[in-house]
């Protein structure tokens, strides 16, 4: 699977899980509404009956906004302040939900099941949390690694340089490098989560290392795919800005229209997040499957080995569901993702049939 196919598989799998998509949208909306209600109250009660208010309709009016903030800034600070408290809760909630998302994309052949989704949320919470913590540290270190030297460079002022254009270039270069590196580590983080769930593993460090090896080994598939997903978001944002400029919020009608567009944008933004995980999951599956096809038949302990090409017609091999990990360890499957796979190298719960069905269906429909 090349990255373009992975990208479209990601879109397709996201669309197929519309109910999950809607669920995430409504969770986000409910949280945001809870924080927005106090904002509405402050604005309505403070200047809602003022004749100055309509001046805000055609566009920004500095005097109205500034007087409002001077007079009611403390109330607005309190409204914004609530967000800080919500942030921690929201992060934990999203970590929780991400577990469900990952579980859902691991079982694409089956219909979306709320029960399975919530079960995935619970089962994978600690995995995702630990990945989040680890990669937060990594991202902070990456940022420090880039911006500390940049700060030092800026701190020297104009020693050794003539004009501010050098600063611009240095800043743009640093931001560019940061985007590339942050997205690279973000990608490893996502592959780690996918692997942890697919393989029902708990060792975050080990899976991070394996994921790193995986994305490096398949860099020209994984990284372009990740950047494409990122660009999709950038494209959506650009489209929103364009529409926002064309339409504006200057009348009751345009306010309603823009509100719908804004919510559509948020919905699609959530979609890009799902699409990213879906495409990563698909890419991971495809790479592993390809390796398996080329190199070794699927071997399962206690079962007759079958060629992977035939496995699409066999009964479900959803090992995670049918054979949960025991105290002796999870059921072993040959790991075919590495260059020299062995039975002992990898333990994975991999639903090959499901993936192929999914891919076939996508190719047929596309």
């Amino acid at each position: 699977m090349n990255f373009l196919v992975g990208y479209f598989v990601g879109i397709w799998n996201t669309v197929r899980r519309l109910r999950m998509w809607l669920l995430l949208y409504f969770v986000t909306l409910v949280f945001a509404v809870l924080l927005t209600i106090p904002f509405f109250d402050v604005m309505d009660q403070s200047i809602g009956n003022s004749l100055e208010l309509p001046k805000l309709l055609p566009g920004y009016d500095h005097t109205v906004v500034d007087d409002f903030l001077h007079a009611h800034g403390k109330k607005m600070s309190a409204v914004i302040g609530q967000f800080k408290g919500f942030t921690v809760f929201f992060v934990l909630l999203y970590i929780f939900l991400t577990g469900g998302i990952l579980q859902t994309y691991d079982l694409l052949s089956e219909k979306f099941s709320r029960q399975r989704f919530w079960s995935g949320c619970t089962t994978n919470f600690w995995r995702v949390l630990r990945v989040f913590l680890l990669f937060t540290v990594i991202q902070v270190l990456v940022a420090l690694l880039i911006y500390y030297p940049l700060g030092e460079f800026f701190g020297k002022g104009f020693d050794g340089i003539n004009d501010e254009r050098t600063f611009y270039k240095a800043g743009a270069f640093a931001v560019g490098i940061h985007v590339l590196l942050a997205s690279f580590f973000g990608m490893i983080s996502d592959y780690t989560k996918v692997r942890l769930v697919k393989k029902n593993q708990f060792s975050v460090l080990k899976e991070t290392w394996e994921s790193t090896k995986f994305v490096v080994r398949h860099f020209f598939k994984t990284y372009p795919l990740y950047l494409l997903n990122l660009l999709t978001f950038v494209g959506l944002f650009a489209l929103y800005v364009f529409l926002g400029r064309q339409i504006g919020m200057i009348s009751k009608t345009t306010i309603v229209v823009m509100f719908i567009i804004q919510q559509l944008f948020i919905f699609l933004r959530i979609g890009t997040k799902l699409m990213n995980l879906a495409s990563i999951s698909a890419m991971y599956d495809a790479v592993v499957l390809k390796s398996r096809k080329q190199e070794k038949p699927l071997e399962i302990e206690g079962m007759t080995p079958v060629a992977s090409t035939e496995s699409t017609n066999t009964a479900s091999t959803n090992l995670a569901d049918n054979n949960p990990p025991t105290s002796d360890g999870p059921m072993e499957i040959l790991d075919t993702q590495s260059d020299s796979p062995t039975n002992d190298e990898e333990n994975q719960d991999y639903n090959e049939r499901e993936f192929l069905e999914n891919l076939d269906q996508f190719q047929e429909e596309s």
Partner: protein, 669 residues
């Protein structure tokens, strides 16, 4: 050495250039009390200036002068204990990191009078403002020969100035030099009646962290020698330039009827020339900022046009504009006679109008402080406030009332809007009265009050009395006080005179009540339209005898019978602030009828009461927003039929913002 001798020598020196220095104006515009002939050489290795200045000082008072007082401004940068540094916000560790090359100073090596008496031994630093013994920014010299009324005496001063790394708009940064306050400069002798002087006295303040300058008018003949690679710009008009044998170049400038002389040098300047009417404009700009050159030139021409029309003629024939390189940013945004420094960033978008604003502001100073030479030490509002006021007028006129400062991505701010919100947004707008010496704003407020509060109250005054009356005041002020030293009272006298002349006693017998509040007081203004009520009267219910019949009438507030539809309607106003201004109150009834009431604005609470068949729909205090000093315009009005689309608009935006914030956070997971 007398002046003629100096000029003869100067003439010999520039023999390959211009033989005679042309005067710029045929008749002196000013009393030319303090004139200078200066020869100075810039040493770019040691960052020093060595020079000789001949001061021609005229005693225009009736007093016999026995001592001279000099500003030694560069000594403000001599050490951390100077008054300038002690008052500045710089933390001590910031000073510790400075190497010797960063500090600056000036010293007089020798001073003598025209009889050849060496006065050097009589020199002594002193501290008229704060007795800070470490401060050496004011020097007095005891004269051997007194200066009698009407006499002009010459003094020859040999001085050395070590330039600091640029601070407070003077010094060097790499190979860029901005030379301001670079020579020993005589103070102002205020004779009896000048400003607040009850008797003749020197007005020569120390250099403070927040103060600017004050000087007498004169003629400056300045001969500047720099490495030949350096391009020079200066106050006044270039008379000639000559290459010297030692790889240096000498520029000779003459500036007439000015209060100061500043210059710049850098090998990297591009020189762009333009002309506005009789004025030769010269823009010195680094290549990286050249894209914005047209903005500076356009703004300069617009400003001169505007000031000429609304204040008075620009009498000089030159204007030099310097756009410092970014490493010399501490020299941006400063005004010197016919010489200003501006600001630009490489790639600055057009919607950010910093170049235009700074150009307009500094050009405004050519009037307020340069020609109308107020005392910037003691009354900073007289120059900064007036300049801010005119900067806003000019910017709003040319670039839009709501977009003169910023106009980007739908985010727009006007000039006056920005000034007013800077004042109303102060954490403590009562921190000080405006009328205070610059160094008196010890706990903040210098900028916000001197610039922005003054700009706001001048605009308030303009809206109250009308633009024509305001222009008349400004023009009268300019004509009466150009090339002199006015003070607050002089301006207030003109306001009282013109307002009375134009409006009679509409605003009272004088406008002193206004100045007592905005200039000498700290009170704030805030009117609030507290409530609108419409109460039905004749709420008849029960059995009434109408003629011989008994009629049962049941009162229905929603559908009152026609005869009962009489309302007592009230508009209740609160005065939340201490300051008072007369204001209009406009009341609109449901049938579209509008009434405008005049209210003195004195009572703490006040009501307008009406009885009629129609309810009050809305009311607004100061509908034309004349009283810009009002801290909150939003509470000036109420309506019974609010149009809340804007609330929904911003609620939707806020919701969208929060959702995006949450999604951004979720991207980390």
């Amino acid at each position: 050495m007398n002046r003629i001798l100096f000029l003869l020598i100067l003439g010999l020196f520039v023999s390959d250039g211009v033989a005679a220095q042309p005067t710029i104006s045929d008749d002196p515009l000013s009393s030319r009390i303090a004139s200078y002939d200066i020869k100075v050489k810039l040493d770019t290795t040691d960052k020093t200036l060595t020079g000789t200045e001949i001061l021609h000082w005229k005693n225009t008072s009736k007093d016999t002068i026995t001592e001279l007082q000099f500003h030694m401004y560069l000594n403000a940068f001599k050490n951390s204990m100077s008054t300038f540094n002690a008052e500045s916000d710089r933390i001590p560790s910031a000073f510790r990191s400075l190497e010797e090359e960063s500090w600056g100073w000036v010293e007089i090596n020798e001073i003598s009078d025209e009889q050849g008496n060496d006065l050097t031994a009589s020199m002594a630093y002193f501290q008229p403002d704060d007795q800070n013994e470490y401060d050496q920014t004011v020097l007095k010299v005891i004269l051997t020969q007194p200066i009698y009324p009407g006499e002009t005496k010459d003094y020859t001063i040999n001085f050395t100035s070590k330039l600091p790394k640029i601070v407070a708009r003077t010094g060097y940064s790499k190979n860029y030099y901005l030379l301001a306050q670079w020579f020993p400069k005589i103070g102002v002798y205020e004779s009896t009646g000048v400003r607040y002087a009850e008797k003749g006295q020197w007005n020569c303040h120390q250099f403070h962290a927040r103060s600017e300058f004050y000087a007498d008018f004169g003629v400056y003949n300045v001969e500047i020698t720099v490495p030949k690679s350096h391009i020079v710009g200066a106050s006044g008009v270039l008379q000639s330039s000559n290459l010297n044998a030692d790889n240096t170049k000498t520029y000779i400038y003459r500036a007439e009827d000015v209060i100061d002389f500043a210059w710049t040098a850098s090998p990297q300047f591009l020189v762009i020339k333009d002309k506005w009417k009789h004025v030769d404009i010269r823009l010195l700009i680094n290549p990286e900022h050249n894209d914005n050159s047209y903005r500076f030139l356009q703004s300069a021409k617009e400003s001169m046009e505007y000031f000429t029309k609304n204040v008075g003629a620009y009498p000089y024939t030159s204007l030099t504009m310097v756009v410092p390189p970014m490493h010399g940013i501490r020299s941006v945004g400063m005004e010197y006679p016919t010489f200003i420094t501006c600001l630009s960033f490489a790639g600055l978008p057009e919607g950010i109008r910093t170049p235009e604003i700074i150009t307009a502001h500094e050009l405004g100073h050519q009037y307020f402080m340069q020609m109308i030479a107020s005392n910037e030490f003691e009354e900073p509002w007289l120059d900064e406030g007036f300049t801010t006021y005119f900067e806003n007028r000019m910017m709003d006129h040319y670039y839009g009332e709501h977009s003169a400062t910023i106009d980007m991505f739908g985010y727009k701010i006007g000039g006056l809007e920005n000034t007013r919100s800077t004042y109303t947004g102060m954490s403590n707008p009562k921190i000080s009265e405006v009328f205070r010496p610059a160094w008196g704003f010890t706990h903040g407020g210098y900028g916000s009050l001197s610039y922005h509060k003054t700009g706001t109250w001048l605009s308030t005054l303009e809206r109250m009395i009308g633009i024509e009356t305001m222009n008349q005041i400004i023009k009268t002020y300019f004509e009466r006080w150009k090339f002199k030293h006015p003070c607050a009272n002089d301006f207030i006298d003109i306001v009282n005179e013109v307002v009375t002349q134009e409006h009679g006693d509409r605003f009272g017998s004088t406008m002193d009540w206004f100045f007592d509040q905005v200039l000498y007081g700290t009170d704030i203004c805030d009117y609030e339209l507290h409530d609108i009520s419409n109460e039905l009267i004749n709420k008849r219910t029960g059995i009434f005898e109408i003629g011989t019949e008994k009629e049962f009438i049941k009162f229905d507030e929603k559908n009152p019978v026609e005869a009962d539809s009489i309302y007592i309607s009230k508009v209740i106003i609160h005065r939340l602030g201490e300051a008072t201004y007369p204001v209009d109150v406009k009341i609109r009834f449901e049938n579209g009828k509008e009434i405008t009431e005049n209210w003195e604005g004195l009572d703490r609470t006040y009501e307008f009461k009406y009885t009629g068949k129609h309810k009050i729909e809305s009311a607004i205090i100061d509908p034309e927003q004349k009283i810009l000093m009002d801290m909150d315009f939003n509470n000036n009005s109420l309506t019974k039929k609010p149009e809340k689309a804007a609330v929904w608009k911003y609620t939707a935006k806020f919701l969208f913002f929060i959702e995006n914030l949450m999604m951004t956070i979720s991207a980390l997971i």
